[in-house]
Amino acid sequence: MSERRSPVRLLPTTGLKQDLQTLHDAAVMHPHGPEDRLLRVALNQLGRIQQGAPSTHPLEYMPSYPDLSDCETTYVGADPNAKPSHRIVWRERAPQRPGEPVTREIIALGERANGQAYYMAGQRLGRPLGFTLAELAAQREPIASPSRPRQRSISSFGTPYAGEPDLQFE
């Protein structure tokens, strides 16, 4: 299909599909209503994301939110006279092999109010509040990593035990 020649591989998550489905079903119930307009605007924005358009802005870590600093946000609004009411949260993944297109993983479409879209995205990525990505990565590292500091007694494992004098308990 010619559509697959897009510079970006679009990877909608299950959660995003559900967000769109909910919006679509509401739009079917209210033809030409705000949901209908919002659905079209959201699909247009997703089309632009697929075409390689930049986000509205990259996200930064804020302690009261899950860390989404590897993600981008694209504003979506059906009313041109009001602040955009919704956000699309997505992130770009580098190609796994040379020559492959980048992947843009679309994580959530949600309301801006009360940061709903961002909490939803964090939940879908399994990111608890108050932890930075670095902290989460450190927790997920294999404990066997040689660079990680361990208890002092364990570090003595690096020394040959055979020649060690027997320490006396004093």
Partner: protein, 135 residues
């Protein structure tokens, strides 16, 4: 802490030790002077290991520190092995979950999967794209 079990999956056979007997020093009536004597005997190599416990039940042993380190090394190797296997399994499952149900698709395919309004949008979007290409 060291593990109480030898059943580690690190390639070391979980061999049963042959039966052996030990002398257990009861602690309930142990005085400070007795302890000093015992430790001196241990230091001279006359009692090794030095085992304590009540009711002739071994509870704790004083062993050379090098032997303790060796035991810790053994447990640590087993832990590293188990952890590496756990992390590998975790990565495999994470990758699988990334791949499952989240295949890439075009925006038109995504829109069409939603229902009639999505199909309508996809048709319009395709036509607009085609117009752009024709220009």
């Amino acid at each position: 802490m060291t593990h109480n079990s030898n059943a580690h999956d690190n390639g070391t056979p979980d061999a049963e030790l042959p039966k052996f007997s030990v002398n257990v020093v009861p602690t309930d009536q142990l005085r400070r002077e007795d302890l000093a004597t015992m430790l001196n005997l241990y230091r001279r190599g006359e009692i090794t290991p030095l085992i304590f416990g009540d009711g002739n039940k071994p509870e704790a042993a004083i062993i050379p520190f090098a032997a303790f380190v060796r035991l810790m090394k053994y447990d640590h190797a087993a832990h590293v092995h188990a952890e590496a296997a756990f992390q590998a399994e975790l990565s495999r499952r994470t990758q699988e979950s990334d791949a499952s149900g989240e295949a890439s698709m075009t925006i038109e395919e995504l829109a069409e999967s939603l229902g009639p309004l999505g199909q309508q949008w996809a048709d319009g979007h395709r036509a607009a794209q085609q117009e752009k290409r024709d220009e």
